[in-house]
């Protein structure tokens, strides 16, 4: 469970102040998949960074039920943030290496993840030898490596080609259902938000604030037929209209 109480964030001081997030209250239950959408600059990244404790809130607080764990959250950054001096496999294994998982076990896990994100054959490559999308896929694999109970993803698929993106969407959905992780996904695609989420949070810009949340009431597992479901199509068009209003 993630409990967000009166959470707000203001960057800078004096004249240069930017209110990135107005006070926000939300409770996200264990096993939920929350999609977050909103125009650029509305504080989506800020929200995730606050939850991950990468940023100190200006007011309010975030309570994680996983707070006692060594790593309460997993995070996929907006840009891949692979370590350029480590190969793809070493990057993916990094969270395991740094938490004392035996090498053999870790290698098995890496092999599985490499296949999952479709990077087979690139295990020994260095990040600079990969395309932007491939790097992002490696970063996703790394975030999944030590099986975090809460997974925060900041536009993880924006640099990935459409076909791979759909595959990864389906994989993510499957992983979520299988493991019961709590997932927060920031995305710019309303289809993706509706397709994956059990709830969609829509944020509005300047100052960043939560506009509405939708409970997505589509049957699981999601798949090709979800995309033809009238309820899905309705939700997508409603979200799209909302986004249009905000950006115009």
């Amino acid at each position: 469970m993630i409990k967000i109480e009166k959470l707000s964030k203001t960057y800078g001081q004096g004249d240069g102040q930017v209110v990135a997030l107005e006070p926000l209250d939300q409770t996200i239950n264990e096993g939920e998949f929350v999609s977050i959408i909103g125009p650029s600059g509305c504080g989506k990244s800020t929200l995730l960074r606050l939850i991950a404790n990468l940023e100190a809130p200006t007011s309010g607080r975030v309570t994680l039920e996983t707070a006692g764990l060594k790593r309460p959250v997993g995070f996929v950054f907006q840009d891949a943030v692979l370590l350029p001096w480590k190969s793809v496999a070493d990057n993916i294994r990094f969270p395991l290496d740094t938490s004392g998982v035996p090498r053999k076990l870790a290698d098995e896990k890496v092999k599985e993840l490499v296949e999952l994100v479709g990077l087979k054959g690139f295990e020994k490559s260095l990040p600079k030898q990969l395309s932007g999308g491939m790097r992002q896929r490696a970063a996703i694999a790394r975030a999944l490596a030590d099986d975090p109970p809460i997974l925060l993803m900041d536009e993880p698929f924006s640099a990935v080609d459409l076909l791979t993106r759909e595959t990864l969407n389906d994989e993510l959905s499957r992983i979520w259902q299988k493991t019961g992780k709590t997932i927060l996904l920031v995305t710019h695609s309303v289809e993706e938000a509706a397709y994956l989420g059990s709830r969609v949070m829509v944020m509005s810009p300047r100052p960043g604030r939560l506009k509405v949340t939708y409970e997505v009431d589509l049957p699981l597992p999601r798949g090709e037929c979800t995309k033809r479901d009238p309820k899905f199509l309705d939700l997508v068009s409603e979200l799209r209209t909302l986004m249009r209003e905000m950006t115009s």
């Binding site: 990468l54 995070f75 943030v81 370590l83 350029p84 001096w85 260095l126 600079k128």
Partner: protein
């Protein structure tokens, strides 16, 4: 480029070899290149030049490693505790600006004529460029890397070993490359000021005996050793940059 450089070097040697007989320069002032080469070979054959080179190199390496380790550690402390850096910066700048040659006689006084004062002097001159390089490596490190280490809740040691040290390696190499030249100079100064072994000692003995061929040979040898150390590090630096950037 490389070929032309070699032509340049050979050209200088030929000019030197031709000029000596033409202008009839007395040998005790300027021996020809062949005479100098023969003297170096003789010194090797007599058996102790290799040992002197070994002595100097081990002073350079010992001091270099000592200075680099302390420099890296200091940079780490400064980056973790900015307050320590704030307080110590004037002191460090002051010590950095003091000409290191002023410290040399004190080291000789305290540590004697053996290898330790040279090692200490080399360590001192190595410390500053390495410390500065490491600090700027950490400071200008991609901010996302420190985010990653927060998300993964890395221990301070893991953070240093897996993130900060490798991220700083390019700048560290640049700093270390600067430091090699300083380190060689420091070792030679130490040996010239007081020693009973090492390349600087051979050099000083040559001067006392007015043995120009030995002195010139040692100068040339030292130049190449200095250049070789520099070239090795420079090569390492380029490899690292090619690999990661």
């Amino acid at each position: 480029m490389f070929l032309k450089a070699i032509i340049g070097l050979v050209g200088i040697a030929v000019l030197w070899g031709v000029a000596v007989p033409i202008f009839d320069v007395p040998h005790y002032l300027l021996p020809g290149p062949i005479e100098v080469a023969e003297r170096i070979i003789f010194l090797f054959q007599r058996g102790d030049l290799a040992w002197h080179i070994y002595v100097t190199l081990s002073e350079v390496f010992g001091g270099f490693i000592l200075g680099a380790v302390v420099g890296i550690a200091a940079a780490l402390v400064f980056s973790r505790f900015p307050i320590v850096e704030r307080v110590l910066t004037p002191l460090i700048l002051l010590l950095q600006t003091i000409p290191k040659i002023a410290i040399a006689p004190l080291l000789l006084l305290w540590l004697g004529l053996g290898a330790s004062p040279k090692v200490a002097l080399v360590a001192v001159v190595t410390f500053f460029p390495v410390m500065t390089a490491m600090l700027s490596g950490i400071r200008y490190m991609n901010k996302s890397y420190s985010d990653l280490s927060v998300v993964l809740r890395l221990s301070p040691w893991q953070r240093f070993w897996h993130i900060e040290l490798p991220a700083a390696i390019p700048t560290l190499f640049a700093g270390a490359t600067v430091a090699t030249t300083l380190a060689m100079t420091a070792a030679v100064i130490g040996e010239l000021m007081g020693a009973n072994k090492g390349m600087g000692f051979v050099l000083a003995t040559g001067q006392e005996n007015a043995d120009t061929a030995t002195v010139m040979g040692m100068v040339i040898l030292l130049s190449f050793v200095g250049w070789a150390l520099f070239a090795i590090l420079d090569y390492g630096r380029r490899r690292v940059e090619d690999r990661f950037l």
